[in-house]
């Protein structure tokens, strides 16, 4: 046991940092999903499945039960990205085109069936206004400046 502990088998981080990071990852994944929901690409079903898998993965280890999700995670190189980059990042996400590349352009039938349970049509969301990054009379650095910009501004 002594030798086991000597090997520092665990990492200690501040709770503030860990939970802020975890919460932020959850929130931003939700924001991405809402962004795609506003434009509803033809493969929004698979995109939702991937993003929900990431959301569940924030606190749990979800089991992939659907074949279409299994295929989609392979398409976005889930395992390789996680190992090579220390964490899974959705490299094929394109927020300018509001879609995820490298997955089928249209939802497979099984996905369509799974996403239409209850037979209700999704409520369309209004496209979000892009944050104003240019200086205004109210905010010198725009509506939503980056923290690095604020630090640089303060000096």
């Amino acid at each position: 046991m002594r030798r086991f502990l000597e090997r520092s088998p665990f990492l200690v981080v501040k709770s503030e940092v860990f939970f802020t990071f975890t919460r932020r990852r959850l929130k931003e994944t939700q924001n991405v999903l809402l962004d795609l929901a506003r434009y509803r690409p033809t493969n929004f079903g698979i995109s939702t499945a991937i993003l929900m898998h990431m959301i569940r993965h924030v606190c749990h280890t979800p089991i992939v039960k659907n074949g279409y999700l299994h295929d989609a995670l392979r398409d976005v190189r889930f395992e390789e990205t996680m190992i090579n980059h220390g964490m899974f990042f959705l490299h094929d996400l394109d927020l300018e085109s509001h879609c995820i590349h490298e997955i089928p352009a249209e939802d497979p039938q099984a996905c369509g069936v799974a996403m239409s349970l209850g037979g209700k049509l999704p409520r369309p969301l209004a496209p979000a206004q892009p944050p104003n990054l240019t200086p205004t009379g109210l905010f010198a650095l725009g509506d939503s400046p980056a923290w690095s910009d604020i630090k640089a501004f303060i000096g």
Binding site: L5, E6, K14, R24, L90
Partner: protein, 711 residues
């Protein structure tokens, strides 16, 4: 057909009632006794369940059907007793070992003695019956040491230790039962048999009495034993074995590349900008920085240095699993008197506890007279048909019926949820009489009810029946009930034989808070605390091999404290943890990645079967306690909404995310350490508990806990 006829009668009767209420007139009117039968359900009057049982039994004994089942599957397989082959249950280490054909033959009048067991499973039997591929004869198996390597702890091979036999009476009915060939009863389900009949649109639906029947499995006295002998071997060495030193060197190498940016958690929070901005989404989800570089995530950049003395090491006993054919308890027991009505059985997934079931004889062995085949297979207790039986304190007792073990012919999964009809038969014919046998006139008014009466008493209203109803019996009565149940079943083997060979399993989960102790502080360890707080279970009694199999979960917690009161979170390093698991001889198991982090999370794995048998540790689980912040009911259950809610971006989706955010926000002010759980025999866990304080204290004094510092 019988069920359809009964249902049709009911439907016609209901239709007739509606028409009569609607003003229709008919020439003939049913007699009063007929109306009474229809009012009280015709299946009850005609005893449909009884007829179904009889029919199923007749089908079992049908000579024509039996001759089809006993036809040889593989041509050219000779019934040569000389081709017996010593094959381990793990399928490795084959060595030829011939034996005398008469070595293990026991006549039905005699009792099996240890020296009469056959040495190995014949290859011909394995070829003829696929199910026998994993079978073995534990009593006569050659003792083998687990595989050895540089990093693995070497162990001495030990022979499986048998319990003393009763020379007057067999432990179970080994000479009357179905054969291996009878297991093929539904093997042809994919063919003509499963097709709809021309006059009936539905495919063949099996009666529950055809499926939940005696399939020939029997128990040997050592059925509950997962380990070779009473004393564990080198168990301390298998507790938290250290990972190799080479990993740290590998970890210190950093990735240097122009389009890669190594970032920790704080770096990403600082560099993301405002929440919800494109930059933030790209950084946290896509892993792309504002300057167009890919993120290489390295949480070691956020490592917090904790002084060695600032760790609290705790230990506890988190759960208990006790398997025995006879549970002698010292407190009042609440016995369930209604059928179990859950969607899943009481033990829905493997709890890493196994029992050894004796396989049925082959037809050839039966025809030869007596029994020479004593081959068994280890099965998870969760794969055996079982139902709730009783409760005592925080412990639940389930009753398991190994004779009814089978796979569903439609989905090929183990059928473990016992149908209501079968449970009702057990309650009415076995349990209620057994309870009543030990009662006196003063308690009769509280306990003497029929199944329908109990259902009515348990019901909340006219539409919904209650799920649970119990009667309290004393410890002495509980012992008497178990004995009476066996006697009742033995008295009517034709009707109640399916319930014979039953055993009981007592399971208590989540008792860590009752037994938690700080290592090196206080006078009592978790086992002593457990014995003190749960006096109605004699754990010393059940630690002994002859009284069943006791499994305990030992939890070891590591909790950091910061000098400045800063709340901290610990994360298991998966690479080092994997090395430790490998050194302990664990199987590959399941790895859980916290927030998709490649190298941080938890691992769960069972120990290699041969090693487990000697060390007496069967399962290990390591996880980070920050999971407790969002854990609701049971570990592994996910409370997020469904994908379809996210697809529709409805309120369920928004609420479930908000709830998790709230819980995660709360976590920022709390400390969460890490935990390692080891499931092993009572003897093994007690041995560890005795040694753990001295191990921790000595390492604290001599090494000043420098190993706990995270750099």
């Amino acid at each position: 057909m019988l069920q359809e006829l009964s249902d049709g009668l009911q439907t016609s009767y209901q239709l007739w009632l509606i028409l009569c209420h609607g003003g229709e007139f008919f020439d003939t009117f049913p007699a009063d006794n007929i109306l009474e039968i229809l009012d009280n359900r015709p299946e009850v009057y005609f005893g449909t369940a009884h007829i179904e049982r009889r029919l199923a039994r007749e089908a079992d004994n049908c000579i024509s059907c039996r001759s089809t089942r006993t036809a040889p599957v593989h041509d050219g397989v000779e019934e040569d007793e000389s081709d017996r082959e010593q094959v381990s249950a793990e399928g490795s280490g084959n060595t030829s070992d011939s034996c005398e054909s008469s070595a293990g033959i026991v006549q039905s009048s005699g009792v099996t003695l240890p020296d009469q067991y056959p040495p190995a499973v014949p290859t011909s039997l394995k070829k003829q019956h696929k199910i026998m591929a994993r079978s073995r004869c534990r009593p006569s198996r050659k003792p083998k040491a687990p595989k050895t390597s540089v990093c693995l702890i070497t162990l001495e091979p030990r022979r499986f230790q048998l319990l003393p036999r009763n020379r007057q009476r067999d432990y179970d009915d080994y000479f009357n039962g179905p054969s291996l060939e009878d297991m093929r009863m539904f093997a042809s389900m994919g063919g003509l048999e499963s097709q709809p009949l021309d006059w009936y649109s539905k495919p063949t639906i099996r009666s529950c009495w055809e499926l939940f029947r005696d399939w020939g499995y029997r128990l040997e006295p050592e059925f509950a034993h997962m380990f070779a002998c009473q004393e564990p071997q080198k168990v301390i060495e298998h507790i938290l074995p250290p990972p190799s030193a080479s990993i740290t060197l590998k970890k210190s190498e950093t990735m240097e590349c122009d389009d890669i940016c190594e970032m920790g958690m704080q770096d990403m929070i600082d560099g993301a900008g405002a929440e919800g901005s494109i930059c933030s989404m790209e950084l946290f989800v896509k892993g792309l920085t504002a300057d167009g570089r890919w993120v290489k995530f390295n949480p070691r950049r956020d490592a917090h240095n904790v002084p060695p003395s600032n760790y609290t090491l705790s230990y506890d006993i988190d759960s208990i699993i006790l398997t025995s054919d006879e549970l002698n308890l010292s407190g009042d027991v609440e016995i369930e008197v209604l059928p179990y009505s859950g969607r899943t059985p009481p033990i829905p997934k493997s709890n890493h506890s196994y029992v050894e079931l004796l396989m049925p004889q082959s037809e050839a062995d039966i025809e030869a007279g007596g029994r020479s085949e004593w081959y068994s297979i280890s099965y998870s207790v969760s794969s055996i048909p079982h139902t709730h039986f009783a409760k005592i304190g925080p412990f639940k007792i389930t009753i398991h019926f190994p004779r009814m073990k089978h796979r569903d012919p439609i989905n090929d999964r183990s059928a473990t949820l016992i149908p209501w009809e079968v449970q009702s038969l057990f309650l009415v014919e076995v349990l209620y009489p057994a309870i009543m046998a030990g009662e006196n006139p003063s308690t009769m008014p509280y306990k003497n009810f029929t199944l329908d009466e109990w259902k009515w008493k348990a019901s909340n209203n006219t539409r919904f029946s209650g799920a649970s109803r119990t009667v309290v019996v004393s410890a002495e009565q509980f012992d008497a009930i178990q004995l009476a149940m066996r006697e009742i079943i033995a008295a009517d083997p034709d009707e109640l034989g399916i319930f014979a060979s039953f055993y009981l399993l007592l399971e208590g989960k989540g008792i860590k808070l009752r037994t938690n102790c700080i290592i090196g502080e206080g006078e009592m360890d978790p086992y002593e605390t457990l014995c003190q707080k749960i006096p109605y279970i004699d754990f010393e009694h059940f630690k002994k091999r002859e009284n069943g199999q006791l499994l305990m979960d030992l939890g070891i917690g590591f909790h950091p404290t910061d000098d400045n009161g800063e709340p901290l979170v610990c994360l298991w390093d998966l690479e080092k943890l994997c090395e430790s698991y490998d050194a302990a001889g664990m199987n590959k198991g399941t790895t859980h990645h916290t927030n998709t982090m490649a190298n941080y999370g938890g691992i769960q794995a069972e120990m290699d079967q041969r090693r487990r048998s000697l060390v007496q540790i069967c399962f290990r689980s390591s996880y980070c306690l920050h999971y407790e912040a969002v854990r609701r009911v049971r570990g592994g259950e996910i409370s997020f909404c469904n994908d379809v809610d996210a697809y529709n971006t409805n309120s369920s989706f928004m609420k479930s995310i908000d709830d998790y955010m709230k819980m995660l926000n709360g976590g920022r002010k709390k400390t969460y350490g890490v935990r390692d759980e080891i499931r092993g025999s009572g003897a093994a866990i007690c041995k560890v508990l005795n040694n753990l304080p001295s191990l921790v204290c000595s390492s604290r004094v001599n090494h000043k806990l420098k190993y706990l510092t995270c750099h």
